[in-house]
Amino acid sequence: MEIRSLSLRARAVVEGFMSGLHRSPRTGFSTEFTEYRQYSPGDDVRFLDWKVMARTDREFIKKFEDETNLRCTFLVDFSRSMEFGGDEAGVKKSDYARTFAASLAWFLTQQRDAIGLATFDRDVREFIPPRYRQDQLKTILGRLETQPAGNATDLCQSLEKFAALVGKRGMIVLVSDFLSPLDELERCLSLFTAAGHDVRAVQVLHPREVDFNYEAAAIFEDMESGQNLILDPGMAREAYRQKMTAHNDALDAMFSAQGIPGFRVTTAEPLERVLRRFLEERPARAVVRQRRSNGRAAA
């Protein structure tokens, strides 16, 4: 993170990537057919497939893929725990997360996709609806550069609130450390998957959070609650790693159940590689979805 400006950082990351084709998850009035649907009274008769009707004597409505650009909203964790890091082991989680979001936003803007931003800690703090405008990227980068003010994280409450704010279906990129209890998270995530949003989760962790690689005993202070704990890392390390692994496994299982692609990154990883992994994941998901749609249409 040697480049201080977030826009330059994003640009540096994105450079060298080719623009891709995005499919809209919404069907609309475009030229690309997606599926048939049984006519029901009230449907616009303009979309009746007369040829099928003549052939089979049944009324089908032709549905087409919406050709509007991708609507991507970044949901970025601005809680205090994201401020951890900034040492020789890795950059701050917040810097990493914001740079990731900014890079992706830059990239999507290049693709003429609409981008939006929501920041949250205990609740949703900022919400910029996804748009494709000239200054949208600038606005988002500006927001990303503000310092977090929140304390604790309440992921589920923030997601519930965000579900009420977000309108049309689109892509939601959730960037957080996910270091909070997972009890309600699955239900909250299902609000989006059920609504047809294409949710992607990026879990940003600092390398020390993964391996707990400390040497000397110290007073460990929780950055969110301020709680202190005197401990010897050598003695606590093994138990920590086990609990962290269990937490991550539970998180992966939850993502898998909700059909959410999850990316776990550490702030020591080069961002370009992470971005490539992220972008490579999308077409595959889109193909799966396409196949499902086709299958249902054929039936």
Binding site: S81, M82, F84, D87, K93, D177, L179, S180, P181, H206, R208, E209, Y214, E215, A216, A217, A218, I219, F220, E221, D222, M223, E224, S225, Q227, N228, L229, I230, L231, D232, G234, M235, A236, A239, Y240, K243, M244, H247
Partner: protein
Amino acid sequence: MSFLTPLYLLGALGLAIPIILHLLHDRPKNKQPFGSLMFLDKTSPPVDRKRRPTHLLLLLLRCLALLLLAFVFARPFVAVDNPADAARRDRQWVTVLLDRSASMQRGDLWARAKAKVQSALGRLGPGDQFSLIAFDDATASLAEVKSWVGSASEAEVNDRLERLAKPGFGGSNLGQALVSVGEAIQETQSEADEQPFAKREIIVVSDLQKGGSHLDEVQGYEWPAGVTVTLEQIAEDDQGNAGIEQVASGAPWITAGAAPSFRISNSPSGIGDELEFLAHTTAGETFSQKVHVPPGRSRVVELPGDWVGKPVERLAIRGDAAAFDNQFHFAPVRRQTVRIVYVGDDKPNDAEGSLFYLANAFQPSSSLDFQVEAVSGRSSGPLPEADLFVIGDAVDDSLAQALGQAIEGGVTALMVVRSPSQAANLGQWLGADGVVIRDVTSSDFALLDVKLPDDPLLAVFRDARYSDFTNLHFWNYRELQNLPDDGIDVLARFDSGAPAWLAARRGRLLLMASGWTPADSQLALSTKFIPLLYSILRPVLDEKTQSRQFVVGSKVDVSQFNNGQAGGGVTVLPPGDGSTVIPVDTIFTPAAPGLYTANGSGWSETFAVNLPPAESRTEPVRMDQFKKLGLPMSAPAAAPAVIEAAKKTETHRLEYWQWALAAVLLFVTLETVLAAKGSRSAEPVTT
């Protein structure tokens, strides 16, 4: 080494705290912010091996500081008698008043009293002043130590105490003893080079009996500042006592042949109400009878008729708790003869004359035998010896001269002026010329106006009940003229202003300007007559009627034995085997009860000495009464052992805790320096 408050040594258990803390680890100083503690559990702080040597030194210092603190609070001392320390201590003057009255003979009171004295010795420290004073009716110093030097002084006092093997037989005049000790303390001035007394304590070791304590002497006494009185009562378990005393022994008005009476009293806490009254005779016989005396009451018992006439030498009671006062030594009263010579021509049986009334006024009593003799004024014979001359008529020259000499010699003479012919005699005896006596016959009657009611002669009438002379009428009286101005006191005058009763200071000549016969006045038939005559005779009676009953400690005037003519060379034989003979000049003070014999040249008389009757009242004085009397009572004393420990070690204790405290401060300072150094040199924790 000992500790005043050893419980504080338990504070040394606090050593465990630094040891445990050092065994664990000290708290890490560096803070490490971390994203979330949700995966972290508290672990026990580990031992930092690198810092152990520094910690050991710190631990040692901390433990030493804690140990010394416990040591300081436990107040260590070493009990040593070091005379050099005396100067640094507050000096005290302890005076022990030891009761050695007869009542201390009860039970083990004497042993307990001595033990109390010895425990009081334990309160003394080097340099203190100590006085041991025994008291009964009087006080006597047993031991006086100006500067206490520990065991040597204690041995000296104990030696003196041991010599006092048992208490005496005297009374217990506690009030006087307290006042005399208070005065002695007040009068004693500290010498210039001496340390003044910080405390003056009077310790009274006594049964504090009610009888004879004379505490009224303490009332109003202004105690010197700084004096405290500690009462060590040793007979709080008083079981009551009964006592015996003779009632009005030797009183002149007790008629001849009357049996002697005795008062037997039982104290309120007496153990029973049935007492036995015993009489022992010189012949070895013993008589007894039961006497019912309820507790708190007394009863006068007359010697039974069949005992009278027996040679009783000792009476006793039996049946009470304490036997020390149950014996009463009895010396029978020896009748003394009082000779009265009437100078005049009156017939003894003539109710119109003076002699008749005079002879009838003096009736023999148990102790006195009156011999009234009449001598004519014209008698040429020698003047008989007499204790009282009553001159009722004119006297011839030879007799007048003899009488004048007798009067000059101190014999009491009463001259009843009945006729003008006595003027010459009067002038002769008064040494005045031209004395004239004039008959005065009142048409009505004359009354008496007492002028000198305080004169010893009229003192008997001083009480308002007897001072009314208005019923005493004088029909005829004589007016004495040309009396000398000096040497004569007018005791009473008639209402006309003429002198009625006069006393000449030359010798002891009394004049009555009117007779007592019915022709002259109502005096002989009035209630004033006999008291007046006895009052005139009192100096003689006082000599003649000396009792043969005395109490221990009283002054026995041996010169009054043998009818007042003891002469010289009197010896007193105390009771016992008769081996001891005490030569006595005039006053003999008996120290023990019993029958004593006074021997003179040609005479021998027995007198009895008994315990003071008040000693029988053994019930203790209520403690609140001492406070009411303004006695500077001390606070309840602490246990002697504690006092002793505190006293002996005061200076040492101060030194020790000061040094220990200084050591604590030193250790704490060192610990602070080392800890600061250790924290600076400790490597910062990096993450």
